[in-house]
């Protein structure tokens, strides 16, 4: 197994690359447009990054264990609709959110069970769940958006804590929690170990099946939190919400330097990855760049980020020899 000091060095190396990328981007935009580096715009960017940022937490855990979760976008829709129909039936906000989050956790755990108790690879199991959850969301809502909710829910999107938008506070709190879980708990160590060498981890006596199921349940939960944010922002629960979010989340994780092969990466990197995507989109909007070119630019950044990641990994390997 990898020693903890090597691990720390890898983590630090990865984050330095990603942070550097974010800084370059910010400085560039600061020079290019007077509208970027204003307090109002930076708070706006942070708020926008919360939607993908939150799902990317669960995705980081899944990818660290060497898996993938394609169902999160559909789970966002399913949880949205569950919350929406509960609210429509007069369920109080707190309970409706709790029921929705539970639906997310259960669906995620089902993914986990299919992968750990059955013969299904994560790609197939979650691809199936992607379709099942989308269909369920459409069935539950009759294909129509549900809208008009109490102010209590809206406050999750419109509220502020000491001037910081509520979604940002929520996202940062979750990242802090995820960071502590990954670096200070046994569960965190297990995730790296499973992704690094699953068989060795099983032989070491770790209940890999159980922990992997938990990881997918957490991914379902983070899709659920994203759904809460989305419903609060749009004041509407849409069965077609979240299409393509799984790919945005995977992109944030990869830009953040977590290896798709599992076993190495960090949640702080993912946060910076999500910020890079939001800053880039924000900047391209501010500059009035054509929508077509924006898609090209985002693709270029993903590829550049992975190139840096690979170069850094080579450096770490050389220096640890």
């Amino acid at each position: 197994m990898i020693s903890s000091s090597t691990l720390r060095r890898i983590v630090r190396g990865r984050e330095s690359g990603t942070t550097f990328g974010l800084l370059v981007l910010c400085v560039g935009l600061w020079i290019a447009t007077p509208y970027f580096a204003t307090a109002a715009n930076l708070s706006n960017v942070a708020e926008q990054s919360a939607v993908i940022g939150v799902i990317a937490i669960g995705m980081t855990f899944v990818i660290l264990t060497g898996g993938i979760d394609l169902s999160v976008g559909s789970l966002v829709a399913l949880v949205s609709v569950v919350i929406g129909s509960a609210l429509q039936r007069g369920v109080p906000v707190f309970a409706a959110v709790a029921i929705g989050l539970l639906a997310g956790v259960v669906s995620g755990a089902l993914n986990g069970l299919m992968i750990t108790r059955g013969p299904l690879p994560p790609f197939i199991a979650t691809l199936g769940m992607m379709s099942v959850a989308r269909g369920a969301a459409l069935l539950l809502s009759d294909g129509r958006p549900i809208s008009g909710f109490p102010d209590g829910l809206r406050a999750l999107a419109t509220g502020e804590v000491f001037g910081v938008p509520a979604p940002v506070v929520m996202m940062l709190t979750l990242y802090l929690l995820a960071y502590l879980v990954l670096t200070r708990t046994v569960f965190g160590r297990y995730m790296y170990a499973i992704g690094g060498n699953e068989e060795a981890t099983v032989l070491a006596g770790v209940n890999v099946r159980r922990w992997k199921t938990v990881v997918y349940a957490i991914s379902g939960l983070s899709a659920g939190v994203c759904a809460v944010l989305l419903v609060a922002r749009l004041n509407s629960a849409q069965p077609i919400a979240g299409i393509g979010y799984e790919l945005d989340a995977i992109a944030a994780v990869v830009i953040g330097g977590t290896s798709l092969l599992g076993g190495s990466g960090s949640v702080i990197g993912t946060l910076i990855g999500a910020l890079i995507m939001s800053v880039l989109r924000n900047g391209l909007n501010l500059l009035g760049v054509s929508s077509y070119l924006q898609q090209v630019a985002i693709g270029v950044v993903i590829i550049a980020a992975v190139l840096i990641d690979m170069a850094l990994r080579r450096r770490v390997q050389r220096s640890s020899r």
């Binding site: 935009l29 509208y35 958006p145 922002r233 500059l287 929508s291 550049a304 840096i308």
Partner: protein, 310 residues
């Protein structure tokens, strides 16, 4: 180490080029900036709207930013674009909403920033907007009821005031198709010899239109005209009519002026279709934005003419 440096250099260069290439210096020109946010730019309708808006902006000396989410259904992304453009301090926001209720929070944010909102083509839900305390400056779009009326008037003229008519309705309760239907029925109401013998929903879908038309032809083999609330259904009806060997015995009129429908009209398989004018919508939106910047008042509703293609 060397590899890392070159990768970094690559990134710095790319970003620098990207930013330098895109930035035309927003403050270098004193021209006021306005923004048009459409549903998507993967649809010819909105690309045409963009072209109309660009031409108008150039002639009026306005800086125009056109943005759209990648997917037509992505309201959250459209909201983010609007939030970003509010930060960009555009003078007027022209908007084709992806969700008539969902976009309301974004409209309210523009209101708070004192940016007038010009709604184009698809309406913002009035009740939701009022409940949220938001306002829009004007609505620019086509009157679908008028389009239906135009289709009816054309059939009356073409068939010498006498016909047995079948109608393919849209999704029941869907405002756009309902308005077209209303207009068509009103046009025919004045000519008693134009007899509507069947009117059934085919949900805007081609295969359903095929089946429904086959059934109608079984019950009423003598119909001489058919109105479909969109071209997709009209094309399905054409197939059923051809399969029944009726050829050109039935005059089919559709709505939307899709390419396939235009082709069918040129080939004389279809009688006519109703065309909206997205280019004019774009032009009128920018014209309105210009008037708003100069403090002029604008009418709350600005209908855009539609035309008959035959």
């Amino acid at each position: 180490m060397r590899a890392t440096l070159s990768v970094r250099r690559f990134l710095v260069l790319t970003s620098a080029l990207l930013i330098a290439g895109c930035n035309r210096g927003p403050d270098a020109t004193a021209r006021p900036t306005v923004a048009l946010v459409v549903k998507t730019l993967n649809n010819q309708f909105f690309v045409d709207m963009e072209a109309g808006a660009k031409a108008a902006a150039d002639s009026l000396g306005l800086e125009l930013i056109v943005q759209a989410p990648e997917r037509e259904i992505d309201v959250e992304r459209q909201m983010q674009i609007i939030e970003n453009l509010i930060q960009r301090k555009v003078r007027v926001l022209m908007l084709v909403p992806n969700g008539s209720k969902e976009i309301v929070p974004a409209v309210v944010k523009a209101n708070v920033a004192r940016i007038p909102v010009v709604v184009v083509d698809s309406r913002v839900d009035d009740g939701t907007l009022k409940a949220a305390g938001g306002t829009v400056a004007t609505f620019i779009g086509s009157d679908n009821e008028d389009g239906g009326r135009m289709a009816g008037a054309y059939l009356i003229e073409r068939l010498g005031r006498t016909a047995r008519v079948a109608i393919l309705e849209g999704v029941p309760g869907h405002e756009t198709a309902d308005a077209r239907l209303r207009g068509f029925r009103k046009a025919l109401a004045g000519s008693p010899a134009m007899q509507i013998v069947a009117s059934q929903p085919a949900n805007m879908e081609r295969d359903q239109a095929f089946n429904v038309t086959q059934n109608i032809l079984q019950a009423h083999p003598d119909i001489t005209a058919l109105f479909a609330c969109n071209d997709v259904m009209a094309l399905g009806a054409l197939e059923a009519i051809a399969a029944a060997g009726k050829g050109t015995a039935i005059s089919v009129v559709g709505f939307d002026a899709q390419d396939d429908a235009r082709k069918a009209i040129t080939e004389r398989r279809m009688a006519a279709t109703i065309a909206q004018n997205p280019r004019e919508m774009g032009r009128l939106a920018v014209l309105t934005a210009h008037r708003l910047i100069h403090g002029e008042s604008v009418p709350a509703e600005q209908p855009v003419a539609i035309s008959l293609i035959r």
